[in-house]
C-alpha cells in the first residue's frame, strides 16, 4: 500500500451513499449497477497514527453499527498486541454487540422495510388499511412503538458502554466498564421491557414459542394459532407472500459468515463458514478485492485487503463505483443474518431456503428470527457475568505487528486489517458488510450480490419501482441508504428510494 488515497467503500458510509442503476426491458430488470457515490478516504486518515487511536476513528465509519466497528478494531488490535481478555470482557462485549444488532434489526424492519408495504402501489389490497394503521411512517401504531422501544433498549449500552453511537468502551484488553450487580439488574429490567414489546407487538407469543418454529410448515401452523396472524410478524408473513416477496431478489445463493460473539472458552456463539451448496470452513485469506470497475488504478488485480492499493483514477472508463468488489475464493457471496443462520444450520433458515429459496421474504423473516434469538441470548450472557472478576487486561505497545479483526455486524461480515510499524499504523483496511452485498462487478464481470438479485425483478410501474426497493432493502443496506434508481436508457429518470 503506497502513499495513496484510499477507498471508500470499506470506509464509506457505503450504506448511505449508494446509487443503483437498473435497466428495464419489457417490465423486467435486465441489468443493475450498484455504485458508491461518495469517497471518504478513511484509510489515509489513519496512516501514521497511534494504533489505539484507530478505535476513535473506525467506530465513526458508521453511526449505526458503530459498536461492530469497535469490536472489529479492538479484535484487530488484540491480535496484533497478543493479549487475552478476561471472561467478563467476552460477555460484556457480546451484550453490547447483540444489543446493537437487535436494535438495528428492529429499526430496519419498522422504520425502513415495512414502510414500503404502505406504498401507494398496494392501496387496492384488502390488507392496506391495517398496514397503514400499523406501519405508516411517523404515524403507524407499531412504527411509533418500535421507535420508542428502540430508544429503550439502547439504555443497556448506556450502562455497558457509556454512550452510543461511538463508545470507546471496547478495547483490545476487554471493556473499560465493569458492571456491578445493581447494573446487571437494571440491564435485565430494560431487556425485559424490550422483550415485552417483541412478545406483545412483533410476535403475539413468547420468544420460546416463536423459536419452536423449525420449518415453513411450522411457521404456517403458528400463523393459524391464537392471534398470531395479527402480530406485526404475522402480518408481514401474510402480506409478504401475498405480494410475492418470496419470489423476488434471489441473489448469488452463496453465503459467507466469519462467525461472531466470541465466548470465554474459545468457541463462538456463531460459527463462521462459507456455504455454496456445501458448508466449508471460513478462511479469511480467501478474501480478495477486485478493482476493475472502481475508480482506482489497477484493472486485473485481486488483492488481499492486507496488501490492498487504492490510488484514485477518475478517468477509468468502465468504472462506476468508489467501492471495491470483495470476493471470496474469487466469487460473490451474500452476507448478513440469513448467511449467518444458514452457516450455523438454523433449522428454520435451512427449511425456508430449501422450500422458498433465498429471497426478500426469507431474508427479512430470518433477520427478525435472529433478533428474537439474540434477545433471549442477551439475558443468558447478562446472567453469566461475575462482577467480582476483572473486565480488562492491560496491553503493552508493540513496535511491529499485523492484526486481523473479524466480526459479524448487524448486516454481515465486517473485517479490519491493521499493519503496525515503528509503533504507528502503517496500513489499515476495512471491508464492511455492505461492501460485500452492494459490490460492483468483479474481474470476471459477474455482478455483485444485490446487482444479481435485482436482475430479473419484474417492475410493474416504472414510475414507482417498489419491487426494486424491496430487493435492495431486504439486504438492509443501512438506515441511511439513499438509493438512486436510474431507469431506462434514453429518457433516464432518477428516483430516490429512501430507506423509509
Amino acid at each position: 500500500m503506497g502513499d495513496k488515497l484510499l477507498t471508500i467503500s470499506p470506509f464509506n458510509r457505503v450504506e448511505g451513499d449508494l446509487e443503483i442503476k437498473v435497466r428495464l426491458k419489457d417490465g423486467e430488470v435486465v441489468d443493475a449497477y450498484a455504485s458508491g457515490v461518495m469517497f471518504r478516504g478513511f484509510e489515509k486518515l489513519l496512516r501514521g497514527r497511534d494504533p489505539l487511536d484507530a478505535l476513535v476513528f473506525t467506530c465513526r465509519i458508521c453511526g449505526i453499527c458503530s459498536g461492530s466497528h469497535s469490536t472489529a478494531a479492538s479484535n484487530a488490535l488484540r491480535s496484533a498486541l497478543k493479549i487475552h481478555m478476561p471472561p467478563n470482557a467476552y460477555l460484556c462485549r457480546n451484550v453490547v454487540m447483540a444489543t446493537e444488532t437487535v436494535m438495528s434489526h428492529v429499526t430496519h424492519f419498522y422504520a425502513f422495510f415495512a414502510v414500503d408495504f404502505v406504498n401507494k402501489r398496494y392501496s387496492g389490497m384488502p390488507t392496506y388499511k391495517v398496514l397503514l394503521e400499523r406501519f405508516a411512517s411517523f404515524s403507524g401504531r407499531s412504527y411509533v412503538k418500535a421507535l420508542r422501544i428502540r430508544r429503550k433498549i439502547l439504555e443497556i449500552l448506556g450502562l455497558f458502554a457509556g454512550k452510543w453511537p461511538h463508545t470507546l468502551a471496547l478495547q483490545p484488553g476487554g471493556t473499560t466498564r465493569p458492571v456491578d450487580r445493581s447494573e446487571i439488574v437494571r440491564a435485565m429490567g430494560i431487556l425485559t421491557e424490550f422483550r415485552s414489546f417483541i412478545e406483545e407487538s412483533l410476535l403475539n407469543c413468547s420468544l420460546d414459542r416463536w423459536l419452536d418454529n423449525k420449518s415453513l410448515t411450522g411457521v404456517e401452523s403458528w400463523l393459524g394459532e391464537d392471534n398470531h396472524e395479527d402480530s406485526d410478524l404475522g402480518l408481514f408473513i401474510r402480506c409478504g407472500r401475498e405480494r410475492g416477496l418470496d419470489r423476488l431478489g434471489k441473489g448469488p445463493c452463496r453465503f459467507l459468515s466469519c462467525g461472531g460473539y466470541d465466548l470465554p472458552d474459545g468457541t463462538a456463539w456463531l460459527k463462521g463458514g462459507y456455504f455454496d451448496g456445501d458448508l466449508n470452513p471460513f478462511d479469511q485469506t480467501k478474501i480478495t478485492e477486485h478493482l476493475k470497475y472502481s475508480w482506482f488504478k489497477g484493472n486485473g488485480d485481486a488483492e488481499h485487503p492486507e496488501n490492498g492499493t487504492t490510488e484514485v483514477d477518475l478517468d477509468k472508463v468502465q468504472a462506476y463505483s468508489w467501492a471495491k468488489a470483495p470476493r471470496y475464493d474469487g466469487r460473490t457471496a451474500e452476507t448478513g443474518p440469513l448467511a449467518r443462520m444458514i452457516v450455523n444450520q438454523d433449522p428454520l433458515a435451512i427449511d425456508l431456503v430449501g422450500c422458498l429459496g433465498p429471497n426478500v421474504f426469507t431474508r427479512s423473516l430470518i433477520r427478525l428470527h435472529e433478533a428474537v434469538k439474540l434477545v433471549r441470548q442477551i439475558g443468558i450472557w447478562l446472567q453469566q457475568i461475575d462482577p467480582s472478576q476483572p473486565f480488562y487486561a492491560r496491553s503493552e505497545k508493540v513496535e511491529e505487528a499485523r492484526g486481523v479483526g473479524l466480526t459479524e455486524a448487524p448486516r454481515g461480515i465486517l473485517g479490519h486489517w491493521i499493519t503496525i510499524e515503528d509503533y504507528k499504523i502503517k496500513n489499515y483496511q476495512v471491508i464492511t458488510p455492505s461492501a460485500w452485498n452492494l459490490s460492483p462487478r468483479g474481474l470476471d464481470d459477474t455482478p455483485g450480490p444485490v446487482e444479481q438479485a435485482l436482475i430479473g425483478t419484474p417492475v410493474e410501474d416504472a414510475e414507482n419501482p417498489i419491487e426494486v426497493a424491496h430487493v435492495i432493502r431486504s439486504f438492509d443496506p443501512c438506515l441511511f441508504c439513499t438509493v438512486h434508481t436510474l431507469i431506462g436508457d434514453d429518457n433516464a429518470r432518477s428516483f430516490v428510494l429512501t430507506t423509509a
Partner: protein, 325 residues
Amino acid sequence: MRKVNVLWLQGGCCGGSTMSFLNAEQPDIFAAVHMSNLDVVWHPSLSTETGETVVDALQSFCSGNRSLDVLMVEGAVHRGPDRTGRYFMFHDRPFKDWILDLSNVAEYTMAVGTCSSFGGIPSSGTNPLDATGLQFLREKKGGLLGVGYTSGSGLPVINIPGCPAHPDWIVETLVLLISGELGIDRLDRYQRPKMFYSKLAHHACPRNEYYEFKASAEEYSQQGCLFEHLGCKGTQCESDCNERLWLGRTGSCTRGGFPCVSCTSPRFPDGFVPFFVTEKIGDIPTTLPLDVPKAWYVGISGLAKLACPERLRANAVSFKRIDLR
C-alpha cells in the same frame, strides 16, 4: 398555522447524529414535531418521499417558491478533488452546490454534529478530501459558506457539535430557534448555543473526588480519575455531557470508563491525540484543564496527592469497590 419546513441533509458523515437524534426524549422526536409544528420535508433516513418529489422539493426551496425555515446539515462537505465536489455527488450534482444554494434561502441554518460544524474526522490529518464544516474549518471561520454568511434570520450557522451530538442539543436548539428565543447573544465564539457548551464534560463526572486528590486510574476499568495517565480531555471539553447524560440518562464517556476525547471542540480529532494516554513533560500533563494556571495546578496537585485519603488511593486502581473504614 403554517407548518415549519425542516430539511435535513447528510454529507460526509457516519449518520451518527441522526441515530442520536432518534434517541431524543423530553421531548422525543414525535413530541418535538408536535410542539414546534414541524414539517420534516425530507430526511434521508426517515422520509418516504422518493425521487423526483425530493428533487422538486429541493428545487422549490432553491427557487424561493417554498420557504425553507430550517436547513439542518449533518456531515462535512467535500470540496475535492480540485474544488469540484465530485467526491460526493447528490442527485448528479456536487453536494456542496446544493448546500450553497439551500443555505442562501434558509431562514435558519444548523450544523448538526462536529463534521458539519467544524469538519471533524473527514477533514482530519492532511484532509485529502478537502472536507470542511459549513462555516468553520477547525477553528478557522469561513468554511464552505464564508465568514460573512448569515441565513435569512440574520444569524450565522448555528453549530451543534458533538460526535455524535446529544439529541437534547439538537432538539432544544431547534425548538428555541423556531420560537425566536435563540439570538446571537446566546451563541459562543464557535457559534454554539452557550447553554450546552459553556460547561465542561468534567462537571458532574463521578470521578471528580478522585480528580481532586489526584487519585488516578493506572489502567482502564479502574475507578480513579482518567486525566493524569489515561488521556481524558474532560477538563478541556466544552459540553454538559456528565450533567445531562446519554441514553435515557444512563451513561456518559467517563462513566463508561473511557476518556473524553473532546469531540465538541473545533480541534477534534487532531487537537486531542493521542487519545488514550496523557502526554506529559516531567510529571506535568501537557493538556491542563482550561483556565487553570500551570503553577497553581502543580502546587495544588502536589498537595492533593499528599492529602489523598486511603479510601481513594485504594479504589483509584481497583476495578471494583473496596470498602475501607
